[in-house]
């Protein structure tokens, strides 16, 4: 590998931030691929962006307002219909605080 834009340690850290578990084998492959991609991204450094406003939205739209009117929403049963685990009327997750 020619240039190191990202190390295996950094990839491990990023994976943790993204809540992804990756194996040692995957770590090697991902690091090399991400490194190549980041080297390619470096070309953006050539572009002079001094004073250029960033675009977050291609079609600028002002914040849309609407009347605050109560409308029907999904029932509790339908909302829970895809839950991997539920109990009574709640989503069930493992204990968060011991």
């Amino acid at each position: 590998m020619s240039e190191k834009k990202i190390t295996e340690e950094e990839v491990k850290h990023v994976a943790l931030l993204a809540r992804l578990h990756i194996t040692n084998e995957e770590l090697k492959a991902f690091t090399e691929q991400l490194n190549n991609i980041l080297i390619y991204m470096d070309m953006l450094k050539k572009v002079d962006t001094t004073g250029v406003e960033p675009t977050s939205h291609p079609v600028p739209v002002p914040t849309p307002f609407r009347e605050d009117i109560v409308a029907p929403s999904l029932s509790q049963d339908l909302t829970l219909s895809n839950a991997p685990q539920k109990e009574k009327k709640f989503f069930k997750v493992p204990p968060i605080i011991e």
């Binding site: 990202i6 950094e10 990839v11 990023v14 994976a15 931030l17 993204a18 809540r19 992804l20 578990h21 990756i22 995957e26 991902f30 691929q33 991400l34 190549n36 991609i37 390619y40 991204m41 070309m43 953006l44 450094k45 050539k46 572009v47 962006t49 250029v52 406003e53 960033p54 675009t55 977050s56 939205h57 291609p58 079609v59 739209v61 914040t63 849309p64 609407r66 999904l74 339908l78 909302t79 219909s81 895809n82 839950a83 991997p84 685990q85 989503f91 997750v93 493992p94 204990p95 968060i96």
Partner: protein, 488 residues
């Protein structure tokens, strides 16, 4: 006689009105076609034949009743598996949504239903629309109907292949960086990415929210206008959908191209491009000129930076959008875990494929402190310059014409081991999403090996009318020999 499953919406609609066939007969013909060819093409993740036949029977009742008939009444349509369909499994081609049954409809599918469409199934795609070949689907690759050793393109590869092979009459896809136009081009059909904000994204599973846009994939330009008419429009449920009236797209189709100024960007004819693609596209441009259009050489100077810009912005937005898949409220949850953290980590690692993981990590990295300025903010600034390129170009021309892709369909497996090469295959389609403008791909010929070649037409924001009418003029004038997957 052309089989029913190979006809256009407009022909079939007339035949339904004249009682030459019923929607049930038409739907049965399409289902039979699916049974015949699906084993070779694999366009679908879920086939909904029973639902389709019920909807077809309902459509026939409407035709018989003498009530006003909506435009897609009784027409078999395939839906990319990224649009939530109430009561029908919607996977986004991911294991993590393998058991997800949406409790509501996306706005696009609701509007299609209201227009009387018959839903034959949910089409295959790259996982979470991340890919250009449909090879990243958890449910297996789709094969290009013109040559099954090749990819159909992606991410809406299943939708494109289904239209091309007669497994539906039309379909809908989504386009974040070319995902409608590129597969439309590689499968020899028409595909339109509307202006960002033209079609509601409500219930369309999010990949990159500032780039995603749904649109039609059809056999000809007229059908494209018919489907766009149904799905376009403001939606209070999507705050980025734009509140502008929707023009009558069919009415303007025959506007003609005489006197129109067509921009030819020099950056889109590059060394290394496939010779047959370049030759065929140049010939199509010649046809446009012969029809009375004026060619203008233009420059989109930031084109070379589009892929890098896109592959920072899209994964950044994706890393945030995909944070919702945590095994709590819907979708897959790993069977074995000790605590919450392990549940999250295992659920996501088992639920996502490698390309999705790669993009989540790329996005997480680009947004993380210390790198945000250098990557994400920088890319957003370059995006401004790319948009400006387009705005300046549209001062000089009415539409921009380019090849849709630098090459015809590539071989299955050819680019899977090198993500960067795969990303570069989007080089001509990506800028349009970054700029937000509408873009259409339509067939303009075949390579000598019989692979379709696409012509891309880009327009000013919210000027789908000119894009469609120019495409229609070209289609009428070029009169390409109608080929089907079977004819040689």
């Amino acid at each position: 006689m052309v089989p029913l499953y190979y006809r256009t919406i407009s022909e079939l609609h007339e035949g339904l009105k004249r009682k030459e066939w019923t929607s049930v007969e038409l739907t049965q013909a399409v289902i039979k076609r699916i049974e015949e060819i699906e084993g070779k093409i694999h366009s679908f993740i879920t086939i909904t034949a029973d639902i389709a036949l019920e909807q077809a029977a309902e459509a026939d009742r409407i035709f018989a009743s003498g009530d006003p008939v909506p435009s897609l009444c009784g027409i078999p349509i395939a839906i990319k598996d990224i649009f939530c369909t109430k009561g029908v499994r919607t996977t986004c081609a991911s294991r993590i949504l393998g058991n997800f049954i949406p409790p509501y409809d996306s706005t696009v599918t609701r509007k299609l239903r209201e227009a009387g469409a018959v839903f034959v199934g949910k089409t295959n795609m790259d996982e979470f629309a991340m890919g250009s070949s449909t090879e990243t689907s958890f449910y297996g690759t789709t094969f290009n109907p013109w040559d099954t050793s090749r990819v159909p393109g992606g991410s809406s590869g299943g939708s494109a292949a289904a239209v091309a092979s007669g497994e539906c009459i039309a379909s809908v896809g989504t386009d974040t960086g070319g995902s409608i136009r590129q597969p439309a081009s590689l499968c020899g059909i028409v595909g339109l990415k509307p202006t960002y904000g033209r079609v509601s994204r409500y219930g369309m599973i999010a990949f990159a929210s500032s780039l995603d846009q749904g649109g039609p994939m059809t056999r000809d330009v007229k059908d494209c206008a018919i489907v766009l008419q149904v799905i376009a429009g403001h939606d209070p449920a999507d705050s980025t959908s734009v509140n502008r009236s929707v023009p009558d797209y069919l009415k303007v189709l025959e506007k003609g191209i005489g006197g129109m100024k067509i921009g030819i960007p020099k950056e889109y004819f590059i060394p290394g491009m496939d010779q047959e693609v370049e030759g065929t596209v140049r010939k199509a441009i010649g046809t446009l000129e012969a029809m009375g259009a004026k060619l203008v050489e233009i420059s989109l100077p930031h084109t070379e930076f589009a892929v890098a810009t896109y592959y920072i912005i899209a994964p950044s937005e994706a890393s945030s959008n995909l944070a919702r898949y945590d095994g709590v409220k819907f979708g897959y949850r790993t069977p074995k875990y000790h605590d919450l953290m392990e549940m999250y980590m295992k659920t996501r690692s088992e639920g996502f494929g490698n390309e999705v993981k790669r993009r989540i990590m790329l996005g997480t990295y680009a947004l993380s402190s210390g790198y945000y300025e250098a990557y994400y903010r920088k890319a957003q600034q370059v995006r401004t310059l790319l948009r400006k390129d387009f705005m300046e170009a549209f001062d000089k021309c009415d539409i921009i014409v380019t090849p849709t892709n630098p090459t015809p369909a590539f071989k299955i497996g050819e680019k899977t081991s090198d993500p960067l090469q795969m990303y570069l295959s989007d080089i001509f389609t990506i800028s349009c999403n970054l700029a937000g403008s509408p873009g259409l791909s339509l067939p303009c010929g075949f390579t000598k090996d019989g692979l379709p070649i696409g012509l891309q037409i880009l327009g000013r924001p919210f000027d789908e009318e000119t894009v469609l009418s120019s495409a229609y003029s070209y289609e009428q004038s070029a009169q390409l020999k109608k080929r089907t997957v079977e004819s040689d």
